[in-house]
């Protein structure tokens, strides 16, 4: 494992098949603010194949939501804009799409569900109205057909007595029920890709499990790809085929779920796994995210990394080096061709070994 052929590329095309359902390369999404340009997503690449589940993980503020919303350009614009990068959906460049084309894509082939079901439904319309709206936007149906379809969808997502609930307003439903309705809306037009941004975070644990089960069974029925965003590694292990680990607007590590859990290669991924409650470290990773406006040179994780070296503080973020298989890439200098990954892989040093004082610096002086 010590020396493997590696690629030093930003866009790392060779590791990715061109016939992916979704292919994101070098995506940057910035926000113009009074304080400066917030680089929320700063060069992110990954693919999603049809029918598979890809999970994006990372701590709060690392840019997961912005990444997912960039796919169909849902983020607020202005202030948001995409200065560079490409998003190809089914071979078509989304960035070049007209507003009209984008609208057909949204809710048609790519659907979203959001973190907080409480606010995601319009409070002044019945859920029937909101479902029918989604159906009628992308399909030629009569009102009656739309109604039937709405009932069918609600039944599919496990809402009992669906026909009686069509006239309910969102405030009459529980949080779990609302999320089911959201899923029904997302499924209304048989999407090829479902983007689920922390769909269970706002729900309590038993409901979380139910919603996850529901999503999995719906995915199997429909052969639909899911881009699953979460900061919960437990959920990742349950649902994902492949994982993208994000930190401060960059991808730190990307690979099949098994490899990520068995041989976590990036120091950040290792720290994340170390912080699972089962491992006993409840304090989290000391320090905090670097400024998204004026990110430091070198590796974004350097201020919190136990393996950081001088060269980690210079130049751009290290490119995506292969770690083991071609599908598993890591953005860390130790995986550079000729580098020694064992420094990381064989090390016992974990977050628990971090000197808090030393590490805290990055987080405090901002």
């Amino acid at each position: 494992m010590s020396k493997q052929p590696s690629q030093t590329i930003g866009t790392d095309e060779s590791t990715r098949s061109s016939n992916s359902l979704l292919s994101v390369s070098d995506l940057c999404t910035y926000f113009q603010t009074d304080e400066g340009v917030v680089k929320a997503v700063d060069g992110v690449s990954f693919d999603v194949q049809s029918g598979e589940t890809v999970a994006i993980v990372g701590e709060s503020g690392s840019g997961k939501t912005v990444t997912s919303e960039s796919i169909t350009r849902l983020f607020k614009s202005p202030p948001g804009f995409i200065p560079e990068g490409s998003i190809e959906f089914d071979g078509e460049e989304v960035n070049d799409m007209t507003v009209e084309e984008l609208r057909t894509l949204r809710g048609g082939r790519v659907s979203h569900i959001f973190q907080n079901p409480q606010g995601a439904l319009n409070p002044v319309y019945t859920i029937g109205w909101q479902l029918r709206e989604a159906i009628e936007l992308h399909q030629e149906v009569t009102k009656k057909e739309a109604n039937e379809k709405a009932i069918e969808l609600l039944t599919q997502v496990g809402i009992p007595e669906a026909s009686a609930r069509l006239g309910d307003y969102p405030h009459q439903l529980s949080g779990g029920m609302k999320q089911r309705v959201m899923i029904a809306i997302a499924l209304a037009c048989e999407p090829d890709l479902l983007i689920a941004d922390e769909p269970t975070t706002a729900l309590d644990v038993t409901i979380q499990a139910q919603i996850l089960k529901l999503l999995k069974s719906l995915q199997e029925e429909r052969d639909m790809a899911i881009l699953f965003i979460t900061h919960d590694l437990g959920v990742v292990a349950e649902v994902a085929d492949r994982v993208v680990v994000m930190y401060a607007g960059k991808v730190m590590e990307r690979g099949p779920v098994m490899e990520i859990f068995e041989t976590p290669s990036h120091p950040y991924t290792r720290a994340l796994l170390e912080c699972l409650p089962s491992k006993g470290n409840l304090g989290g990773i000391p320090g905090s995210l670097p400024s998204p406006i004026d990110p430091p040179d070198g590796c974004r994780f350097a201020s919190r990394c136990v393996f950081a070296q001088d060269e980690c503080l210079e130049g751009p973020q290290p490119p995506a080096y292969e770690a083991g298989t071609a599908d598993h890439v890591v953005s860390c200098i130790h995986y550079e061709p000729g580098g020694n990954p064992d420094i990381v892989l064989k090390s016992d040093a974990t977050v628990s070994a971090l000197d808090v004082d030393q590490m805290g610096v990055g987080g405090e002086n901002r």
Partner: protein, 431 residues
């Protein structure tokens, strides 16, 4: 299972930092000095308030000891400044004559109180807490319109406060009627006698009366300068009274709850339903429209909305632990309100109160325009009304004072908006 490490991101840190320097935290201790013993500011404050009260009592006693009715009228209409003899004025003890300032009327008493409170509760705390002031100033400075407004208002305030002290009020001088402003001209036949140069059958304005004169020959510039003080008095005294009543009522209701709350705010409900302008109109019509009466009416009838804000803000905080702790420690009701509830609501009150000022200035102008004000006072509304029947002959009489009125209201509106953004981040942004 969460891998969240530190949700406190950078921006949250900044905000937190900023939160810790707010208006309230800092200045209250220094002013009342409860925690630190007597500060110099506090001693000065008590000394000045003591002198003020003694002087006021002396004045009231002198007035009411004898010839009560006329003297009350004199107090209310504040005749001293305009040297108008109240008919049938009974000689007797008379209002007190003070060194330097002479006789003092009701408005002047209120005005000086307002200014004193302004100095001790706004200017000095801002000066003493430079860090906080600098922070607010940075926030405030972002709003260009507000900065210009502040400068404009400061000028109006300064002129209004000083110039009338050594300049005589506008005088009626019929021969000088209808002089055009310095940059304008008018048919020679309009003024009785043209002060400026006459050429081609046109009377041109002169620097003797830069803004021209009214049909009575009153100088408009002098009227406007006097109007500055009147508008500032209306706005600031009105705001002071409004804040005083609104916070008292709001805090009382919030602190005691129950029936006290119910009764007070049922009353507020009714008061708010009543369209304020017509209330002012009716009362001024019945009671008479001296400036003193108007200001009192504005103060006494317009506080409902702010009282609601105070109450809801205070209610949110009442349950908070430190109040509980204070209560348990045996603190009295008044003390708790003063020390704990009041500071916490002051930001939203300041914002709301600033936005009350333009309404009051406008109301005074409108009432004066309708002829309900004191005809002797050269307020802006009065001067606008003066020129109303002369629109075809002398357009400048109504228009020029209106420019000042408009700009002043606009400036206060901009200022209020900026204060809301600077002091009250929760409500900011959108509005």
């Amino acid at each position: 299972m969460s891998v969240d490490t530190d949700p406190t991101t950078q921006s949250a840190n900044v905000r937190k930092d900023a939160d810790s320097v707010t208006f309230e935290d800092v200045n209250w201790d220094e002013i009342d000095g409860t925690a630190r013993g007597f500060t110099r500011t506090r001693i000065a404050w008590y000394a000045i308030m003591g002198t003020y009260l003694l002087a006021l009592l002396n004045d009231l006693f002198n007035r009411f000891a004898e010839g009560a009715y006329q003297r009350t009228v004199a107090f209310i209409t504040d005749t001293s400044r305009y040297q108008v003899e109240t008919p049938g004025f009974i000689p007797g003890a008379g209002p007190a004559e003070y060194p330097l300032v002479g006789e003092i009327g009701g408005v002047t008493w209120l005005w000086s109180l307002t200014l004193l409170v302004g100095v001790f509760y706004v200017a000095i705390p801002l000066y003493q807490n430079q860090r906080m002031t600098a922070y607010y100033w940075r926030e405030f400075k972002k709003n260009k319109a507000a900065v210009i407004s502040l400068i404009y208002l400061a000028i109006i305030f300064a002129i209004g406060l000083t110039v009338p002290r050594f300049m005589d009020p506008p005088e009626v001088e019929p021969v000088l009627a209808y002089q055009p402003p310095v940059w304008g001209s008018v048919r020679e036949t309009v003024p009785i006698q043209c002060v400026g140069p006459v050429s081609g059958g046109e009377c041109h304005g002169s620097w003797a009366h830069p803004f021209g004169t009214t049909h009575q020959g009153k100088d408009i510039l002098i009227s406007i300068v006097y109007g500055m003080e009147i508008s500032m008095q209306v706005g600031l005294i009105g705001m002071f009274l409004t804040i005083l009543i609104a916070t008292t009522v709001g805090l009382t209701a919030a602190y005691f709850g129950g029936y006290v709350d119910e009764i007070l705010f049922r009353y507020v409900d009714i008061q708010i339903t009543f369209p304020t302008f017509f209330l002012y109109l009716l009362v001024v019509y019945l009671v008479g429209g001296s400036l003193f009466v108007m200001i009192i009416i504005f103060g006494v009838l317009g506080w409902g909305g702010i009282a609601r804000i105070v109450r809801s803000e205070a209610l949110q905080r009442r349950e908070e632990e430190y109040i509980m702790a204070a209560k348990n420690a045996g603190a009295g009701g008044l003390w708790t309100m003063r020390r704990h509830l009041l500071p916490n609501v002051s930001n939203s009150v300041i914002t709301a109160a600033t936005l009350v000022i333009p309404g009051l200035i406008l109301a005074e102008a409108a009432l004066a325009f309708l002829g309900l004000g004191d005809p002797r006072l050269p307020s802006w509304g009065e001067t606008i009304a003066d020129g109303r029947s002369d629109l075809d002959r002398a357009w400048w009489i109504s228009t020029i004072p209106g420019v000042f009125l408009f700009m002043t209201i606009l400036a206060f509106n901009f200022l209020g908006d900026a204060l809301r953004d600077a002091l009250d981040p929760r409500q900011g942004g959108g509005e």
